[in-house]
């Protein structure tokens, strides 16, 4: 298993906790015995702008950036952002997409429309599309901020690590008082994927 290598591209909107999710994923791979590199941009992008993280694991990783056309897994925290970065996927790559829609300024002010048929357009790009309602799962735990760990849980189903790695990483990165709700969110994310038989 440790000979495996892979590229995970995370995309979301500033404020959704995508960066923390990538922290937990990266740490989980390090715990799992992989070399890991992970790159993201802070600063301006945090203010409601598009946020992306490149996460790469393997026996030895050089570039911190994923090239377009080479991601094994796209984890998108927002539906349109999935489409924006779908060109990063390999032809056989998989996409775990939160169905949540967040309007960008031009749509919120009526100058443009939120694009339609995103699921269909994504399905043209990848045969392995998992569209899930992470927001509903987080809200059912009464913690809207747990969307990110729901997504980590869902993504974990398609990644070559045992569950313990994620939970250890989660404990390493979160304050004690919110570990439990985030672990629950992680498990509910995993459960969202389970019925599809996509787990490994």
């Amino acid at each position: 298993m440790k000979g495996a290598r892979g590229n995970v591209f995370l995309a979301g909107v500033g404020g959704q906790g995508a960066l923390l999710a990538s922290e937990v994923l990266g740490e989980a791979f390090l715990i799992g015995g992989y070399d890991v590199k992970k790159s993201e941009v802070h600063g301006m992008a945090q203010r409601g702008g598009a946020v992306t993280t490149h996460l790469r694991y393997g026996p030895k990783v050089f570039s911190p950036l994923i090239e377009p056309g080479s991601a094994d897994l796209l984890v998108a925290f927002e539906k349109m952002e999935a489409l924006r970065f779908a060109h990063f996927l390999k032809p056989a790559g998989a996409a775990v997409v939160n169905a949540q829609e967040i309007m960008p300024p031009s749509v919120a002010t009526g100058r443009e429309r939120y694009p339609e048929n995103i699921a269909e357009r994504l399905a043209e790009v990848t045969p392995n599309l998992y569209l899930i309602d992470a927001l509903a799962a987080a809200l059912s735990l009464r913690e809207v901020r747990a969307v990110n760990m729901v997504m980590v849980g869902a993504a974990s189903h398609l990644l070559p690590l045992p569950e313990t790695c994620y939970l250890e990483a989660l404990r390493a990165h979160l304050p004690e008082r919110i570990v439990e709700v985030n672990a629950k969110a992680f498990h509910s994310g995993r459960a969202l994927m389970a019925p599809r038989g996509a787990g490994r």
């Binding site: 301006m44 203010r47 570039s63 911190p64």
Partner: protein, 602 residues
């Protein structure tokens, strides 16, 4: 590198690694001004035991404080983003002459691609111009190792040392070996030595000779330095590279021969010649300017560089491949979608100020901070943005060019931290030289854009200590501004009234818009109202949309949908407030002539 036992390895960003390296090197004093992509270095360093770390008002002060600590015999660190070095250049160029006592390292975090900056200058030029050696790590692992090495070199060669990072080093995470902190062998204390520390011309002339000798010694060191290494492979292609570009080269050409440079000034001429002689085709792969390439060419060595590798923007594995092979990899076309630029947060106090300012149709000289985002639609509330503190001087210059015609037509807009960084001296200029500029200081009680750092006006330090809080109004009065007023920018009627009066005043005036950043924990903990649009009352006039608040969403209608919603068929849509985003700032309700925006009552 081989990966040691798990407990001795952390997954650290380049910035965390630099902080760790400084701690392990025994640094006692660190000073910085926040700036992306450098900010997390001091935030992380401050958490280590037995260290002093501070936010300075600006980078020049940060360098002077660190230099003072070095004079007193302790290891010291100054940290800034690339443009911060412009501000700090004055002490840096002479620190090169004085040299050091305790090791003195200056981190410059460059931002190729301008992810969060106003230019993408290449600060390797500063190493050359100031005659200061510069190390450049290529990942987090090296970032920590090179930081420690930089302190050792600084003391051995009696020189400040630059450590250059870039966004993809600072904000990329990778494995880092964790080691113990070491204690300095130097005894703290200032030793009087005017020939070294007092840069009167006569002393400085002699120091310049020493600087030149030092750089010759550093160049000899560069030839032996293990961070400058040849990785022989296939001799058909030889690449000279440094920094993150090395990783891209290795990714794309795993079998090529590579000269990997860990020190980018001074460069190892003999090693470069040896490498060049051993390969058929020689290419330099470096981001931004042809710094290494020019040196190689000056040696009379034939090399390809900027004719195949872009000078603009950051590199990537794909760009490096295309440059060297001429072939790209076919990629799916990407979807054309509505853009998602950054925006002022829901409830941001700046939004109220810019909404009001727009009514006056003034030229707004802007500055560096979150509020620069107000330049984007729909507010489009800013006409210039150059550098930290430029708004006041720019506004005053516009005023001097236009004379009386500028009265009521120009305003400068600047944040609290930016004002203290470099807005005070231009305010003195405005008063001293009899201007009538209206200066608006947006005081949101933090340095927001970089992630809420403390500053002199917040009353707290980086180390979490309470301190005397700078009084912005008193400061402005003290430099001679007689008309200083504080307004609540969420109260747009009040803000408008004060602006109307002050814009036309034939004397300098300062308006302080005071309301906390919505990201501050104290604000987030407060119970805040949530507003909603009553659908029956909304006429779709879009008055509220003009605020550009992310919480206010436009729901478009077709004529049939409009009729179904009991609206006129001509109504194009209506507004909706996203309750998950609404911060309860109360800016939008007064804008609705139809009283359709009401507080949600439980």
């Amino acid at each position: 590198m081989s990966i040691p036992a798990r407990e001795k390895v952390g997954l650290l960003s380049g910035n965390e690694a630099i902080a760790r390296g400084a701690f392990e090197a025994g640094v006692k004093v660190a000073s910085a001004y926040p700036g992306t992509p450098s900010t997390e270095i001091l935030e992380n360093f401050a958490r280590y035991p037995d260290v002093y770390a501070e936010w300075a008002p600006n980078e020049k002060v940060a360098v002077e404080v660190a230099q003072g600590a070095s004079m007193a015999g302790v290891r010291a660190l100054a940290v800034m983003k690339h443009v911060g070095v412009n501000v700090a250049a004055d002490p840096i160029f002479t620190a090169s002459y004085t040299g050091v006592r305790g090791g003195f390292v200056i981190v410059t975090a460059d931002d190729p691609e301008l992810h969060s900056s106003q230019n993408e200058q290449d600060n390797r030029h500063y190493a050359v111009a100031a005659k200061i050696p510069m190390l450049e790590p290529s990942d987090s692992w090296e970032a920590k190792e090179f930081t420690k090495l930089a302190f050792a070199l600084s003391e051995t060669y009696d020189t400040p040392v630059f450590l250059r990072s870039t966004t993809r080093i600072s904000h990329a995470k990778g494995a880092v070996r964790l080691e113990e902190a070491s204690e300095s062998s130097l005894a703290p204390g200032f030793v009087r030595d005017p020939a070294k520390w007092v840069m009167l011309p006569d002393n400085a002339r002699r120091r310049h000779v020493i600087v030149e000798e030092r750089m010759r010694a550093m160049a000899a060191f560069a030839e032996e330095f293990e961070g400058n290494r040849i990785e022989w492979g296939d001799r058909d292609l030889g690449v000279i590279t440094a920094g993150v570009s090395y990783q891209y080269v290795r990714e794309v050409f795993p079998d090529a021969s590579v000269l990997k440079l860990g020190m980018v000034h001074p460069l190892p001429s003999r090693l470069i010649r040896e490498f060049a002689a051993g390969v058929s085709r020689l290419v330099v792969v470096e981001e931004l300017d042809p710094h290494i390439e020019m040196h190689v060419k000056a040696l009379g060595v034939s090399v390809q560089g900027k004719e195949i590798i872009p000078i603009v923007g950051e590199l990537s594995p794909g760009i490096v491949r295309k440059g060297i092979t001429g072939q790209g990899v076919p990629v799916r076309p990407f979807a054309v979608l509505p853009g998602r630029p950054p925006n002022l947060c829901p409830g941001c106090p700046h939004r109220g100020l810019f909404f009001v300012l727009n009514k006056f149709k003034v030229t707004v000289a802007g500055d560096i901070g979150c509020y620069t985002l107000a330049a984007l639609p729909p507010l489009k509330g800013m006409d210039t943005c150059v550098c930290m503190g430029a708004s006041l001087g720019n506004a005053f210059g516009i005023e001097k060019a236009l004379g009386k015609a500028a009265l009521g037509k120009v305003a400068a807009v600047i944040g609290d931290s930016t004002f203290l960084h470099s807005g005070v001296t231009p305010l003195i200029d405005i008063v001293y030289n009899r201007g009538f500029t209206t200066v608006i200081i947006l005081d949101n009680r933090t340095t927001a854009m970089t992630g809420a750092q403390e500053n002199p006006a917040t009353g707290r330090t980086l180390m979490g200590k309470a301190t005397r809080r700078l009084d912005l109004a008193a400061l402005c009065r003290a430099v001679g501004v007689d008309h200083v007023y504080t307004v609540n920018p969420h109260d747009m009627a009040q803000t408008e009234a004060v602006l109307k009066r002050e814009l036309f005043r034939e004397e300098p005036s300062v308006i302080i818009t005071e309301a906390p950043c919505v990201l501050l924990p104290d604000h987030r903990k407060k119970k805040r109202p949530v507003y909603e649009v009553i659908p029956d009352l909304c006429t779709g006039c879009m008055a509220c949309s003009k605020l550009g608040c992310p919480a206010i969403e436009w729901v478009p209608f077709t004529p049939d949908e409009a009729v179904a919603a009991a609206k006129a068929p001509s109504q194009k849509g209506m507004a909706r407030i996203n309750p998950l985003l609404c911060d309860g700032c109360n800016q939008c309700p007064p804008l609705c002539k139809f009283q359709a925006i009401l507080e949600i009552k439980d």
